[in-house]
Amino acid sequence: MKVALLELRRRPWRFAPAVIALVLLTVLLLVLGGLLDGLYNGFTGALRAQPGELLAYAADARLSMLRSRIDAATVAEAERAPGVAQVGGLGTALLGATVPGQATQANVALFGYQLAPRGVPAPPSQAGQVYADTSLKAQGVKKGQTLFLGPKRYPVSIVGWVSGTNFLLQGGLWGNVDTWREVLASARPDLMLAAGTYQVLTISTAAGADPTRVAAAIDIATRGTTHTVMRSLAVAALPGIKQQRSTFNAIIDTTFFVAALVVALFFILLTIERMEMYAVFKAVGASSAQLFGQVVLQAVTIAVLSFGLGALLALAVSSVIPPQVPLQLSAGRAIEVAVGLVVMSTLGSVLSLRRVVRIDPATAIS
């Protein structure tokens, strides 16, 4: 018989204030986490999906894909560097796309690629064919449709869907390198690139090779004209990513702290209210550890229950949020919030320990 659970079942209204507060905090945590994930994935998806562990930029580009240019001779030097297994050229153009039937243009990032990113098929054989990121569906894009890119309205047809491949919050379009070159030439004739020139190289290392050593070897082989970094570093170097993550994480951490505070205050008040009952329990032989165990059990149960209700509410909230808002609810984030809530609730309930220990059983009889 668990007294703590019986109390929860028979006096649910008593715990309602804590549950309501934790449900709202759960919604906040899930929505904040979902926004962070949505922003992060929307910013970085294209880079994180790259098949190689390494990305090589022009040395003077300061890890900016848009500024970087790597010519054919440098590509050949990189390919010959020790530890390199595969090198693929990658380029992008950020453009407005006219979607048939839509009043507003969709923001897209057109990629030309040689090595297929994770979840993306091999490059389409024909110029003008692209795979579109599923996020573009929200802007009215359909399979089989032709989009018109840039001021010169370069036509590309959608031949399939890919997901998680957006870049700088622009919907990813994935075509072969010829498509990318032609679009770039049509939109920005001043930036026209010579054949064999790419913005970035995505590089796979040979089995057993140390990627950091291979990166250094590439930069030596190209005589310092490239700056080769791990993919994770390239992702972190995107503008605003670090600030975005640290800001959101600070808010999320503060919310977890507030959750612990809510539970702590609630159970301190509840313990004060229960002094007489706990004194009787101690008088009839309950130990402080047993009573404290009851407090922790209630705190954990409340946290789990609140998380369940909060998750349902967050799903309802996400269904009414406009698709342009980059909210991405994921199982991983939900597990993180659930575990965080349980841990913080347990820590919060620990603040009642001192009061429980100090209850004098003699007060039951005096």
């Binding site: 019986l6 309950a286 059983p361 039951a364």
Partner: protein, 232 residues
Amino acid sequence: MGHHRAAALKLENVRKAYRSGDDEIVAVDRATLEIGNAEIVALVGPSGSGKTTLLSISGGLLSPSDGRVLVAGDDISGYDPKQLTKFRRENVGFVFQSVNLVPFLTARENLLVVADFSRRDKKKSAARADQLLDELGLEQRKANLPAQLSGGERQRVAVGRAFMNEPDLVLIDEPTSALDTRLGEQVMELIVTEVRARNTAAVIVTHDQRMTHHADRTLYITDGVLSDAPRT
């Protein structure tokens, strides 16, 4: 416990004093008494006389400043708080002045909670709780919450709870203080019947001299001093 020949409760020169600034307040002053098995003793005294302190010391809720306390032959005077908790769990039954049932537990669960803290065998505990409630005439009220019971029924549940751990000694604090004379008599009769039926020793603290005829012996306490006759 296995000390059936030893006195149920033996106090030897028990003293309890509290410090209040530079002063010493003596709540119990050199109390000595012996209560035999199955003996019922009434402890009478006015408010502040030290009777509750004496009861608390006897039940391991307080430790004496001086003297020895033996329950069923075991000297509990030097027990630390952990040992006292175990001692109370296994050897003493309490009936509290204000009954003090857990409001969200049924009559049956109020008995089982004692066994729960002792981590006793669940089946045996359930059988004992049922048996006690049947004997107390509460077979139809087992599933009722305290708020659904009358004052007398609640008192009976409290008595049942005191016997749940098969104690050597039952300590009863002012069982009739909140009851009128007629109901008080009924409750005392019930308590005494139950105590006698289980061959257990009991100390009943009361300020109401009219209730002392239920006990085998009456002791008086005034200003912490225990005596066989009321002090004039």
